[in-house]
Symmetry: C2
Subunit: 482 residues, 2 copies
Amino acid sequence: MQDNERISDSDELQRSLRQIVQLLDKQRLVEELVHRQDMPRHGLVETLVHKQHVAELQKLLDELDPADIAHLLEALPLEDRIRVWDLVKAERDGEILLEVSDAVRESLIAAMDTGELANAVGQLDTDEIADLAPDLPHEVIQDVFTRLSPEERDQLRAALSYPEDTVGALMDFDMVTIREDVTLEVVLRYLRRMDELPDHTDKLFVVDRLGVIQGELPLNRLLLHDPEVMVAAVMEDDIVSFEPDDDGREAAQAFERYDLISAPVTDANGKLVGRLTVDAVVDFIREESSAEVLSLSGLREEEDIFAPVWKSLKNRWTWLGVNLVTAFIASRVIGVFEGSIEKLAALAALMPIVAGIGGNSGNQTITLIVRALALGQISLANARQLFAKEIGIGMLNGVVWGSLVGLFAYFFYQSVSLGLVMTLAMILNLMLAALAGVFIPLAMFKLGRDPAAGASVLITAITDSGGFFIFLGLATLLLIKG
Amino acid sequence: MQDNERISDSDELQRSLRQIVQLLDKQRLVEELVHRQDMPRHGLVETLVHKQHVAELQKLLDELDPADIAHLLEALPLEDRIRVWDLVKAERDGEILLEVSDAVRESLIAAMDTGELANAVGQLDTDEIADLAPDLPHEVIQDVFTRLSPEERDQLRAALSYPEDTVGALMDFDMVTIREDVTLEVVLRYLRRMDELPDHTDKLFVVDRLGVIQGELPLNRLLLHDPEVMVAAVMEDDIVSFEPDDDGREAAQAFERYDLISAPVTDANGKLVGRLTVDAVVDFIREESSAEVLSLSGLREEEDIFAPVWKSLKNRWTWLGVNLVTAFIASRVIGVFEGSIEKLAALAALMPIVAGIGGNSGNQTITLIVRALALGQISLANARQLFAKEIGIGMLNGVVWGSLVGLFAYFFYQSVSLGLVMTLAMILNLMLAALAGVFIPLAMFKLGRDPAAGASVLITAITDSGGFFIFLGLATLLLIKG
């Protein structure tokens, strides 16, 4: 199936990348020369040099696996990426589009016309077409649709109907089904009449005449048992199966727990409708964990690192906007205590310590809780213990770090009471950070929202405003008015 | 192999968890009663009730798959976890120890004596023993070692010799090898003599008489081709293979790119030494991405969410300590400008806005760069473009958000010049944030360090001190002295 050289080692990939970049640079140089000199009689020579570079580049690309080309396209700046994309053989376009990230896919699709796109997409399986569909222009989908067989149309319609992140959106339709009342010999003969088995076939699905799943026949058992034995006698009947509406996250966790390679997807009546395979699950796990990291720091989605500036801004503005509001609030909290600060400017120098350490400590807590929620380790049954533990840590941290910052304040400002106020404020703010660090993601989770979304912005807002209020409030009470 | 009920759906797992917690609570209640009443004549009755609960719990546990028990143990508070662990059948201990996280494993091992541990570990494969080895007491390893066959001892020694995160540490030794000069029929007969194939066998490895790999025979082809054909005629000879010293991250990326289920691991001469399978890769990907999220916010490792407080403190202190130092520096930066703040207390209220928005924007940038580095999308060839793009975004963000905070400052303090100073400071600090957000992870990466480690603490340090210095410096120059 795969006749291209595959590169298991990233140094080699980096080398290919450098080669491509060099060839593109040379090309550009030639173009610039032609352009600058503007002399038609030189045109011919330069065009020959140019053609030579293009041929070399094309040769390099043809030798690479589609997955490796996809990886290289991710690492190329926009202009170079499109140059390379134009050189990739049309029949490989579809496969590569599947492999690249959403952000890069958008840039590639933008560089193709409707006909090219329809041809590229038309070569894919229906479940793959469904994966690309959200990014495709309407005409292209229409065009592809007309080329499909009625059965494939049904599959495509079904695949498109399931929401993202469900098993239905992750499954494919390539499966081999057999009956339980035949011998392994019959199954073996049946398989030998096929050209190839679908990728990731580690088991055959045993169904009855209505298509309801009865069990699984692992290829293992097919190979190891006597061919005279009946399927029913050696099939596995305790199977892990999914339904199209199941949450992709839970299916992924089940794949991890049970080390599955493929699993049947059935409707509510047990009728086989598709198949989930480990490669789709691995991609899903990657995307999920990327999304978690990104949304923690207030990014909406994965970003093409070479996207135009305005596109990146869209991705970042939602939470920076929220941050602006929370920063204004923190500023007004300080504004209330401007009188105290005028009397004792040291307060202004010390207050960011209370807020800053609170913020970092809160970020640690919230990160751990978001992780534990994603892994399904937290339930309401154990939430109480979590609060107790984190507040204990906050208090202990407060005593230790609070004493240090208290000493620092005393050392610089020669005031015991200022040092004590610092210590007390630290303890209280770190406890607040712990409380909020557990509460925010749990509350989000309960409300059915993404617990990671903007978590860092939210916790920082609370430890900033809270820290300023606690420290300046205590100082005003105990130092200024006292 | 697997005769336990497996649970594909997390609601069901949560139900099991609740059942277990309820049973444990009942048990505790009984124990408390016995203890409180201190009446020996009641003892008998309560012990009976107690035994009944224990039996019920045991039955529940016996029905669960080891992977599911592992998952439940993660979600149980320490005391309950140990109670449940004591009830798990000894012969399943090894498998469960493999499945739990490092942090939880430590707590389970602490609750076992040397003999129990040696028995549990002794039942595992050598590559699995190697995985557990770092957490086991020396006597246990010694004990297990003496029970192994000479060949297994060599394997264990080899597996222990590879550093964590290399292919050598991830591989196993369960593989089926065949020769190329036999027919498929011979291979089929050879397989039928085996009891079972190793898990995740999707291909057989073809080796010569010295054990040097010649190709792979996918089970697919074994099934689909005529049994009379020779192995050499249908084997795949362009194979993706790894060496034990290869980086686990790169192997994982290759598994993802090429959708592999298993791959041979060979020494420098091509001699087959082990096998890498997708389940090990999936676990590795999970751990890697967890480590990235955690180290971004300055946590050293995954944490048992129910670990005793002092254990969690150890995990969090390294970066909080760094944070303390950076907070002191930021405080001293402000200290330099105390004179200006005394004259214009509004500066104290406005400066956290500049620092805070800079911090969040810098965190967004650093998160994206760390992600792109982890996915291998960044090389030195494209670093220049990255800097240009991020600084462009910083500047645009600065103009937009800077104008807003400038208006805010003007609105609250009725000073046009103060508003302008705010705007200018925001633009400069957001550009600083962009610069540092790209520079820190790239520099760490170049130095061979983890680009994610404490990234959030470091970027916040720069945007805090930098933001205070830029804003207060500009204000002093233009407003106070001007």
